[in-house]
Each structure stands twice: as C-alpha cells, then as structure tokens.
C-alpha cells in the first residue's frame, strides 16, 4: 500500500495522469457539445478518433510531412463528422434517447467493421510525431514532451471554445439551443446551423485527440480509442452530462484517475484497472446520480 501511495504522488506519474486527463477532457467536451445541442450521446465518437488515427498512420507510412498528416486527419474526421450529422443525427433529431443511442452504436460498429476490412485487425502504425515521447527535464523531474503538448493543447482548445460560446452570436445560439431547443427556434435560431456547428467543433476536437493519442499509442487498430471513449462517457455521466463544464471536469477526472491507477497499481495487477475505475463510477453514480460537478442534487433533464 505504501508503494502504491509513493508511486501515486511521484511527479512523473502526476504529470502523465494530468496529460491523460487533458486528452480525456477534450473528448468529454466533444461528446458534451453534441449532447448539449442534439440531446444525443454519440457513442461513435471513438470511431472518429480511430479514423483520424488511420489517416495519420496512412500519412506516416508514406513518409509525408507531419503537417500534411495532421491536415489529412482533420479532413477525414471532419468529413466523417458532417456525414454522420447529415445522414444520421439530423433526421433523428427529436427521437427518443434510446433510438438515438442505438443509432450511434450502429454507426460505431459500422465504422469499426469498415476499418477492419480496409486495414485488417493488426492495424497500422503512426510514428510521425514519435519524438514527442522523449522526455524533457523540468527541475529534477523528467516529463515526456507529449504530456506538456497535450496539456497546453487542451488548455488552448478549451479557452478558444469558451470564447466562441461566450463572445460570439453563434455561441449564444448554441447555448440557448442547449437550454431549450424549441424556444431557440422560436426566436429565430437556425436549428440545422447550430447542430452542424456543434458537430463540426466536436469533430475538430476528435482530430486533435487523434493526433495527441497516436503519439502515445502509435498502433492504430479498428478498436482504437474504443476503451477511452467508454471511459470518457462514464466520466461525462459521472461529472454531469447536462453542463459542458461538469462534463469536461468528469472527463478530466476519469483520465487523471486512470493515469494514476495505471502507474501505481503493481505491474501484475494492471489488468484490474478497468474494474477499479468502473467500480468507482458505479459508486459515484449511486451517491450523486445527477453528476459530481453539478450544483445541488441535480437530476438529469430530458434524458
């Protein structure tokens, strides 16, 4: 037990856990944005990241410059996001949550199957940014560059998003639509525009996550990011689904806890990590069903 605690408070472990939390927070925002406007839990979010990962691997195997790889990743993920919105999300808007969740499950497994046919079960490797795994010394602590890049990138993305939501008229329209979609339409807010922008922003975040994640886990397989998505969904629900801030904190928290546990659990016991995390999730949900980071007891609305 004392070994566990000693490892857990090590600065390297803390830094890596915060880095993972930052990536999970970005995924939580991506899922939370779409949920806020469309009341739709996008289970297929991980497959967007998987597609971005394959785009990066595709570019990496051909020796294309890093910038081209990232651009390809962005194009692929955005095209896929907008196609999903147009073909599945928009026609299903206003349906029951069960119908929409089932539809996104179907999309998720469809994309996974396509990836399996195209790239095979072993997947491809994205190594263009592998040098970011080298450490830098901060004081007497060695921290991997990707950890710093992930934290800074997440902070910048979140700050830009906050500015967009609070300082622009499309941001105001999105917030209003998230609170009361039908009244927002009544005052003239364009439903299709706000839902398209929400999906677009969510897609940009998925592309960013794909870039950050492939540095640490370069082997992209058809099930890439699936485990992370399930963890983030749990984090979002635990944090509080109905508010972007609480969903983001939930995503960060579950990333952070997973990071610490992964490092601190004795190496022979790391297979117990998911059991620990999800045991904790169930416990928290029993105590605060409306979310940890929401005010008051907070029941989940409209779900």
């Amino acid at each position: 037990m004392s070994d566990f605690l000693r490892t857990a408070v090590e600065l390297q472990v803390q830094a890596d856990a915060i880095g993972l939390g930052a990536i999970f927070a970005l995924m939580a925002v991506g899922i939370g944005l779409v949920f806020g406007v469309l009341r739709l839990v996008n289970f297929a979010y991980g497959q967007l990241i998987m597609a971005g990962g394959f785009a990066l691997a595709f570019a990496s195997e051909r020796g294309w410059p890093v910038a081209v790889g990232i651009a390809l990743c962005l194009v692929v993920v955005l095209a896929l996001s907008l196609a999903m919105e147009r073909v599945v999300f928009r026609p299903l808007r206003g349906q029951s949550p069960a119908v929409m969740l089932t539809a996104t499950f179907a999309v998720a497994f469809l994309l996974q199957s396509i990836a399996l046919i195209w790239f095979g079960p072993l997947g491809k490797t994205a190594v263009s940014l592998a040098q970011l795994n080298r450490p830098v010394s901060v004081g007497d602590v060695e921290i991997r560059k990707i950890t710093i890049v992930a934290i800074v990138t997440a902070a910048v993305c979140l700050a830009l998003l906050v500015l967009l939501l609070n300082r622009t008229s499309i941001g105001l329209h999105m917030r209003a639509a998230a609170m009361d979609f039908s009244t927002a339409r009544l005052v003239g807010v364009r439903a299709s525009l706000v839902s398209a922008v929400a999906v677009l922003l969510s897609g940009i975040l998925a592309a960013v996550v794909a870039v950050l994640l492939t540095v640490q886990f370069p082997t992209v397989t058809p099930t890439y990011a699936l485990r992370e998505t399930i963890l983030v969904l749990a984090g979002v629900v635990v944090g509080g689904m109905t508010r972007l801030v609480s969903a983001t904190l939930g995503g960060f928290a579950i990333g952070y806890v997973s990071g610490v546990l992964a490092a601190a659990l004795p190496s022979g016991q790391s297979q117990y990590l998911p059991s620990f995390v999800f045991g904790l999730v169930i416990l928290v949900l029993l105590l605060r069903p409306g979310g940890v980071f929401t005010r008051g007891a907070g029941t989940v609305e409209r779900v």
């Binding site: 105001l172 609170m179 009544l186 005052v187 003239g188």
Partner: protein
C-alpha cells in the same frame, strides 16, 4: 388594396383526431391590434402556434403580406418577420437579460440595436447583467416582449401577456402595445382579460370550440351583456 400584414384563411388544426381550430379566418393590417378571446381550450393559443409553425396546419393558409408561410419551420417564420411572445414567457433563465435580448437578433432583419426597447422598458437596461430567471414576473414579461421586438417583426403575436401579473404591470403591457402599434406593427393579441382587450383592439374575435363565433368592436367594451353572451353562445 395591398395585402394585410397577416392573413389567416380557413385555418384547420387538429391534435391527433381532435380538431382544435376549424376554418378560422382573420386579418391583421399594419398598425392594427386584433384581439382573440374565448374560453379555455377555444383554440386561441393553437392559432398562434400554427401561425408560428410550431404545430402543423391541416388546411387553409397563413400569409404574410400575401406570401404563404404555411409549412415552414419556426425559425424561418421568425426570420420572415413574425415574433411570438409565448405564454409563460419562455425566457432563457440562466442567460443574462442582455443575452436574452441579443437572442432576439437571431431573427432580426436590419440593424442590431437595443436602444428603442430600453426606451420602452428602462428596467432592462439597468438589469442587463442579471440572470433573466432572477427577475420578477413583470420584469420577465417586459423582457419577453422586448426580445420579440428587437427582431423588428412586422407581425407580433402575444399569448396571454397579462397572465399572472400585478395590475400596474398589466397597465404597462397594454400601454406598450398601444405605443408600439404606431410603428406599423400588426399585433394579434390572445387574452383572458376580455373587456380590456375589446377596449384596446380595433376588433376582437371571440373563439369557441375552435370556431370564430363573433367579432366585437371597441364600442362593445361597455356592453357587458353582449360580452357575456359571446362567451356563453
């Protein structure tokens, strides 16, 4: 003669198999106030919702200055110049007063400016940074009317704007309608306060069971017997 700002002709609305509005026709011209009164369930709110595109019209037509808007989405109708002050106000309680007003710009067709609504309702300028949900009922009603007006609509629909308000606020609401009609607005007012509505409006239609039963003019406001008969018919 030019087309009226709003023309509803032979409107039919049904919920499930039950008819809520049957063959309703009415017109509101520029600078005109038309009242719509009648018992609960007469189809008054449903008529406003059908004009706004919130419920589908089964038959008939709704036209703005001669152009049909039937079948269009609510946001498209709002952008064509119709604004609804809904029953219960439906403000965004967690947004500030100013943000609620800025949402009105979503349907605006012209310059974005708030000065004229601040002239009508000075309290909204003073409380601009407050959350709308923290305002009193009367202040919220002023905000709801102001939010509709910043879009510079040509047709203003109001659904029981005096419901649950103190008498002084009711006076303010009715005085405001009188003041804004001269801007050329066509106003369709659904109300429970029959006598005041009849006294304010150029003409007032009495609706019962989804049908237009009777049309009253200002002169009828003093004629209590006729008003009661209109409700009981």
């Amino acid at each position: 003669m030019s087309e009226p700002a709003l023309r509803v002709s032979g409107l039919e609305v049904a919920y499930g198999g039950v008819a809520a509005v049957r063959g309703l026709s009415l017109e509101v011209a520029e600078s005109e106030i038309v009242g719509l009164i009648g018992p609960n369930g007469a189809g008054k709110s449903t008529t406003l919702h059908a004009i706004m595109g919130l419920v589908p019209a089964r038959g008939g037509d709704i036209a703005l200055a001669g152009e049909s808007i039937r079948g269009r989405a609510p946001e498209s109708i709002a952008r064509s110049g119709v604004a609804l002050v809904p029953e219960g106000r439906r403000l965004f309680g967690e947004l500030t007063v100013r943000e609620n007003l800025e949402l009105g710009f979503a349907a605006a067709r012209g310059r974005d400016e708030l000065a004229f609504v601040y002239d009508l309702f000075p309290v909204l300028r003073d409380f601009g940074k407050r959350q709308a949900g923290t305002l009193s009922g009367g202040q919220q009603q002023q905000l709801a009317i102001a939010r509709a007006l910043v879009a510079r609509p040509s047709v203003l629909l109001l659904d029981e704007p005096s419901l649950g308000l103190a008498p002084t606020i009711v006076d303010l609401v009715f005085a405001t309608l009188e003041a804004i009609r001269v801007r050329g607005l066509a106003i369709l007012l659904v109300e429970q306060r029959a006598q005041r509505t009849v006294a304010l409006a150029d003409r007032t239609h009495v609706l019962a069971n989804g049908e237009l039963r009777l049309t009253l003019t200002r002169d009828d406001a003093a004629d209590t017997d006729r008003m009661i008969a209109a409700y009981l018919s």
